[in-house]
Subunit: 429 residues, 2 copies
């Protein structure tokens, strides 16, 4: 497939999709939910092929769980589509309505971003979620999923695309890319693609960010911290630390570094060590920490620069700090502005931390694993942004829209305002 | 000056500036307004040196008007600061407040972007506007102004910076770069600088965009269009076209291409030609247009690809189209998504145009020159964005903030929600 030609056609059809009514978009979504149910035997058969290939390639059980698309996952994605249909239209909202002068009215109106390229991991449910989020928000999308679910992706895409087009949406509302070299073609489409959302390994996302002029929303790494303050409640702290590290170790919002207030370290560390050991987590840390833990293995002793490490594994870094200020400085220096949490019963210390830490998510007395579109009540998410511009944190429907200014005049020229013949009288309506 | 070291220090001080109250920031702004008035003789003397250098370099009167900083400009920038003080605090706004579960509350709160690099043309009033906009929005800024007003910039910066720091804002809230090679250093500070706003020539902005990993807000070119529909009122159309082309020819929002409905071309073009000639504007166009205009000069005949030209001069491109749809397709293909206008008395045609044109500003029956922060009632602007992400069109205070998510818990872990032991009950508060 010629991705550049596809993107060019998409760009020209994007205003047509943007101009559809929410009733048309919702009708298409409901038809897609119906078609997925109707074609489920074909879909499960395709997934069966992918699972057989996974077995042949000795894929681990944890990964196979993600590749699997069964009745349960189908039920979930269909429920997700119905939830999406129930959400209000993100388009056409009047964000500003101002009279600049008699007969000269300015509107700021929400509109889709346009053409979005999403590159995502091998998870069939992700394909359904992303494509339906894009359609609800009036965005055309080029979708490239992981090759391990190629057969499932192909049938899911066909069902979704054909149903969308049969429902009256433009032919090029969705395009599927299947080959890895098509990603490089996609990266060169900066005239036609408005936004890229890459999901996957750090190295992969960093490669995308470094090789395109298209704006990228996402995150390369997720070095999340939890600071255990001297006023922390140990009964809350230990379960939160275990959850943040182990509930889904490979997730970007899993914790990597534990910062412990020096005053409580002697009493807190032994219990932490025991709980982490029970959960299969290896602790690394500064020499001071290792001494307190009675661990003399050199490979567990960390130098300062080692704290920029994302393990995505059952390993955690531990460091002692003098106070919340030192914790904040460490996080702002070594963190990836993703999600960081403070455990303390002192509300002022918590407020200081949440004000000063420069991250998309700052938490008090809870696990960093809550950083997720579903858990924030956004419905599905297309990704999590750690940049500062546009959408940050979990990105749902709202992050897929921008706005345009509409100015309605009756013959006004700027010369009259420059000469003083006419005056602005700004009045919000 | 070592810009990289300055940026690193700024990054660490940015949370301190972000944490100041609006009273502190407003007090600093009022002190700056007072100091500018108090030091005006020194400022005017410095500007006198710059103006003498401009004379020596035979700078044109039009440009000298921009370099000049006199009582009138001082009065304007001081009035601008007072207006800025009167605007509500853009920071700390609660954009979302949702209970996820009992004792687990999510807030989305507006915060500054952080560290912004602004590179702007030789206009002393721009330095004052940009620095005070950044301070009001709690952003640290690295400022690099045009070298033609070096002396004026230096004293203005010193007055503003010293007064801000004396008012209690952090030492590194503002930094001035003076040397051209410091721009290249700035471009490499992607770990510490959150946003670049370049203003200047197309080539310069394109150079910035192509040579940094830092997100860039702005626009390289401004190919703006006006479509004269068959239902246009010629009495409105001619003055609007003249204003859009000539009121400030070098501005990015000046019109470059006129699209004329074929049905009215024979009656409309002669009057247009006469009015444009009176205003000193040369018309170029397709062979068909030139024949209608009775102009047989080959250099005025345009090929299709010539319509991607931004003149920034007293020249306009003219093309005939069959209908509004062809006009929209031309604009979406050759425009720069800046500002485009339709002249028509047919409201439905206008709505179609404004829906389908994929630009930051879409206008009806008025001049493209209205695309400006002051004219939109935003107070000052830091620039005009033609990208789709974050801020679009004229960018004022609102475009200089982002948000963070604050999640307040009481010991919650994700494991309990995954196992079904706990359930989310999203409730907006």
């Amino acid at each position: 497939m010629d991705i550049r030609a596809e993107a060019r056609q998409m760009k020209l059809q994007a205003p047509v999709l943007a101009a559809t009514s929410v009733e048309e978009r919702n009708a298409a979504l409901l038809a897609i939910a119906g078609a997925l149910e109707e074609k489920k035997d074909e879909i499960f058969a395709a997934n069966h092929e992918d699972m057989e290939a996974a077995d042949k390639n000795l894929v681990s059980p944890a990964v196979k769980k993600r590749l699997k698309f069964d009745e349960g996952k189908l039920r979930d994605v269909i429920a997700g589509i119905h939830q999406l249909v129930s959400l209000p239209d993100p388009l056409g909202r009047d964000l500003l309505h101002r009279q600049l002068d008699e007969g000269l009215e300015l509107h700021r109106v929400s509109v889709p971003i346009g053409v979005i390229g999403v590159i995502f991991e091998a998870r069939p449910d992700a394909l359904v979620q992303i494509s339906t989020l894009c359609l609800k928000s009036g965005n055309c999308a080029i979708l490239k999923g992981g090759k391990e679910t190629r057969n499932t992706n192909r049938i899911l895409f066909k069902v979704i695309h054909d149903t969308a087009v049969a429902s009256g949406l433009p032919e090029k509302c969705l395009v599927q890319a299947e080959l890895h070299n098509e990603i490089d073609e996609l990266l060169s489409c900066d005239k036609d693609v408005d936004l890229l959302i890459p999901r996957g390994s750090n190295a992969f996302v960093a490669h995308i960010m470094n090789n395109t002029k298209i704006p990228v929303m996402g995150h390369a790494d997720g070095i999340c911290h939890i600071y255990v303050d001297k006023a922390a409640d140990p009964d809350k702290a230990i379960p939160i630390l275990i959850d943040a590290k182990t509930q889904y170790t490979a997730a970007c919002n899993a914790v990597e570094t534990l910062l412990i207030h020096r005053d409580i370290a002697p009493s807190f560390l032994p219990g932490l060590k025991e709980a982490m050991a029970d959960a299969g987590v290896r602790l690394r840390g500064t020499r001071e920490v290792m001494d307190l833990l009675g661990d003399d293995k050199e490979e567990n002793v960390m130098a300062e620069e080692d704290f920029a490490t994302e393990y995505l594994d059952l390993i955690a870094s531990v460091k002692l700090v003098d106070d919340v200020k030192e914790a904040v400085d460490h996080i702002n220096r070594y963190g990836s502005h993703h999600t960081d949490s403070i455990l303390t019963e002192d509300r002022d210390t918590a407020e200081y931390f949440m004000q000063m830490v420069d991250s998309a998510g700052v938490y008090h007395n809870c696990s960093t694993r809550f950083a997720d579109g579903f858990r924030y009540g956004f419905g599905a998410e297309v990704g999590i942004g750690t940049g500062k511009l546009h959408a940050r944190g979990p990105v749902g429907l709202e992050g897929l829209v921008t706005y345009k200014y509409k100015l309605y005049g009756t013959g006004q020229i700027v010369g009259d305002y420059a000469s003083g013949k006419a005056q602005f009288h700004f009045k919000d309506l």
